[in-house]
């Protein structure tokens, strides 16, 4: 099925759009939870919503049998109440009884979930249909959603969005500069109340398609994925919401497409939507972490590789300098001296040629040109200057070479100048070798 079918097909449209809306609200709130460093709160609250779901499925099915709208609204209300109850319990355990944050979360989530299982088991045998409905909230079931759900969840998401936009300034102020917010008499308590209210709301909206068990991922993952690429709160919200919506779509897409790639049968099953949405978000997150500009592994490797290459190049230049001015040399000679691999040698030669430091004189023979000579003598100068400096600082002369081998790649021209002035333009290094003079002194 092509991508656009997921937005036009009357059966596929509702689950896809509803999932995207849910992921949108969850990933917006996730940003707030992330910057407050309370990411696991969502895990506890989503599990606390379970007994509410169970109770309201039973209640609504008794009061309004076969009414899809009332059922989904009732579930929302029930889940909201019990999730809020969980929030108060966690708060009470932490503040009144000084129970540590993680233990409080863990005990509330497991006890509430156990309560839910107990109540659900009451109807397991007698009302199997209701029980099945309850079970679908464990891992989410997007496939059975209809246009009514789009309407309900769309309205709730729009409300969340509006509140967020309306309170954006306050949220920004409170989370980044609490003291300023206090001195400006910003309504801190009510804004925090609103944030927690929205958190519970987002969880309640989300459990229909992601499920109770994995709901916390939709709060955490988009925010983590967006973080490396933003440094403004508003951008953070936008990028996180975008990632959330994309993963909501991808989850729906792959949950129905993936099984058919594995088995080419018509009666293939569809994978549970919740785990697929979570996996899509995690995949995006993995890429974002790998390629992030600050702490990304990929970026780190590139920087490291570049530095190593520069060290090799500079050592190469130094070696050529030692052959003397105007001396030409063959590749075979270099190979013999350095035992470099051919690949690295070719790369180095190309790089040096592009920078205009060497010129070719014959077949496989090269010579340092004037610029190359200057660059190489600067390296030697820095090396010997550093040795002289270390001896000046009281180190023994036979120990300084190793340090200089490393420092010659790091010392900047400014530092070199400072060293020259400090040591009063030395002529000889500690090993009685001449220090090449800078150009302007020649």
């Amino acid at each position: 099925m092509a991508v656009w079918h997921y937005f036009s097909d009357p059966v596929l449209r509702a689950p896809t759009i509803a999932s995207m809306l849910m992921c949108l609200s969850a990933s917006l709130i996730g940003v707030l939870v992330f910057i407050r460093k309370r990411s696991l709160l969502g895990e506890a609250l989503s599990h606390s919503a379970y007994p509410g779901v169970v109770c309201s499925v039973i209640l609504v099915s008794l009061l309004f049998p076969f009414s899809e709208q009332w059922l989904s609204i009732g579930i929302l209300i029930g889940a909201f109440i019990s999730s809020l109850l969980g929030l108060f319990m966690i708060d009470g355990l932490e503040k009144r009884l000084r129970i540590k944050n993680d233990a409080a979360l863990c005990v509330v989530l497991s006890l509430m979930f156990g309560l839910g299982i107990l109540i659900a088991s009451r109807i397991q045998v007698t009302h199997a249909l209701w029980y099945k409905q309850i079970q679908s909230f464990l891992f989410g079931q997007a496939a059975t959603m209809t246009d009514i759900h789009i309407l309900i969840y769309g309205l709730l998401t729009a409300a969340t969005l509006l509140v967020m936009i309306f309170c954006f300034r306050f949220i920004e102020l409170i989370h980044f500069d609490r003291e300023l917010a206090q001195s400006l008499k910003a309504p801190i308590r009510s804004i925090e109340g609103i944030v927690f209210f929205l958190l519970v709301l987002a969880i309640v909206i989300g459990i229909r398609c992601v499920g109770v068990v994995l709901m916390s991922a939709m709060l955490i993952t988009p925010a983590v994925a967006a973080r490396p690429f933003v440094n403004k709160l508003s951008h953070f919200f936008i990028l996180s919401a975008l990632i959330g919506m994309i993963s909501g779509f991808m989850g729906n897409y792959f949950s129905s497409e993936l099984p058919s790639w594995f088995w080419h049968s018509t009666a293939s099953i569809s994978l549970p939507t919740g785990p697929m949405i979570v996996l899509s978000a995690s995949t995006i997150c993995l890429f974002s972490l790998l390629f992030s500009p600050q702490n990304g592994l990929f970026n780190h490797w590139i920087l490291q590789g570049r530095f190593l290459f520069r060290c090799k190049k500079e050592n190469f230049l130094k070696l050529l300098w030692k052959q003397g001015h105007e001396a030409s040399w063959t590749l075979a000679f270099i190979r013999e001296k350095t035992h470099m691999s051919w690949l690295l040698l070719v790369l180095l030669l190309m790089n040096l040629k592009i920078e205009g430091l060497i010129k070719k004189t014959g077949k496989h023979t090269y010579i340092l040109n004037e610029q190359g000579w200057l660059a190489a003598s600067r390296l030697v100068r820095v090396h010997r200057l550093w040795e002289a400096y270390l001896v000046h600082m009281g180190q023994r002369a036979e120990k300084v070479h190793k340090s200089a081998e490393e420092m010659e790649h790091i010392i900047t021209p400014e530092l070199e100048k400072e060293l020259l002035i400090l040591l009063n333009y030395p002529v000889l290094d500690p090993h009685q070798q001449p220090i090449p003079k800078p150009k302007e002194n020649l």
Partner: protein, 320 residues
């Protein structure tokens, strides 16, 4: 036939002790045990291991890591199936000792290492990286299992457990794990205590806190894997935290906390099964035994909160 059929709460207790003494003195074999007895014994073993491990998890503030572990065991079991060259198409949640061993090592180490990797290399907050790791691995486990077995119910069974489907052979597993737990924690009790209360001193003396937290994680994973058939991973968490926190509210000494937690866990398991049988006998309502046990644990937790608050008011003590 099940001899407990139609028994009430007190009849259950009397009959249970009667039959247990028969079992101990050898006139009943393991396979003749009724399902209620298997449930009671399995839950007691789980409560036992859970309280032992849970004490140190709560002390070291690692319960959310245990939460993460209890989810990732699914992928651990899938991984051990692959390592043993079983085909995933025949994947089942039946576990033998070999799978238990490999899966608990895999789960404990991979989860902890990945979480630490995210916090250290990518400078992520710890709770965000815990949440990221376990949701991803759990989702991956569920998708793999559903894809290869075409069984939609395995995920639900992992989360909820099925105490009624326990077999006397499953009892051996939880019993062994209980033995391993008491053996390791008994032997290394001083070390665990030192590392929980003063990691800096422990490090100076030469014990690696890193090693002990890995050991604790592997133990937790093993306990979770042995336990989840019976109670499901989420209720396993209740066995880890609720008795310990209740005990913590009643006393301050570690040894006492462990003993109280053991008593609370074992009591809740026993009376939970008895209560569930009673409700079935007199009201004809089959309730989830694991759910009932956890609700009892919750009830005991609330009770100990009340006792704690009452004590605080009575003695007018301030919070530490």
């Amino acid at each position: 036939m099940n001899p407990y059929w139609g028994t009430s709460f007190f009849e259950f207790i009397v009959l249970f002790f009667n039959r247990m003494s028969q079992w101990v003195f050898g006139s009943l074999t393991l396979n003749e045990l009724a399902s209620d007895e298997v449930q009671v014994l399995a839950l007691i073993c789980i409560a036992f291991s859970g309280a032992l491990v849970g004490c140190f998890l709560v002390l070291k503030r690692m319960t959310m890591l245990a939460n993460s572990l209890s989810h990732t065991i699914l992928l651990g079991i899938v991984g051990s199936y692959l390592l043993l060259f079983h085909s995933l198409n025949t994947f089942q949640l039946d576990i033998d000792l070999k799978i238990l061993l490999i899966a608990s090592l895999l789960t404990g180490l991979i989860t902890t290492v990945l979480t630490q990797f995210l916090t250290q290399v990518f400078r992520l907050q710890e709770d965000a990286s815990i949440g990221l790791v376990f949701t991803t691995l759990f989702a991956l486990g569920i998708v793999l299992v559903t894809l290869f077995t075409r069984n939609m119910h395995i995920g639900t069974e992992v989360v909820m457990g099925n105490v009624d489907a326990l077999h006397p052979n499953d009892l051996k597993m939880v019993f062994y794990i209980g033995l391993v737990n008491i053996g390791i924690i008994g032997l290394l009790f001083k070390e665990f205590k030192l590392i929980s209360f003063d990691p800096a001193l422990a490090k100076a003396i030469g014990f690696s806190p890193q090693f002990f937290s890995y050991l604790l994680m592997v133990l937790t994973a093993a306990t979770a894997i042995a336990a989840f058939r019976a109670v499901g991973v989420l209720l396993f968490l209740a066995f880890i935290t609720a008795p310990v926190l209740s005990a913590r509210l009643l006393t301050d000494r570690l040894e006492k906390v462990i003993i109280y937690a053991l008593l609370i866990g074992i009591g809740a398991s026993f009376f939970g099964v008895a209560l569930s049988r009673h409700i079935l006998s007199s009201f004809q309502i089959p309730l989830s035994t694991a759910g009932l046990v956890v609700t009892l644990l919750g009830f005991l937790f609330v009770l100990s909160i009340l006792i704690h608050l009452g004590k605080r008011r009575f003695f007018k003590t301030k919070l530490p």
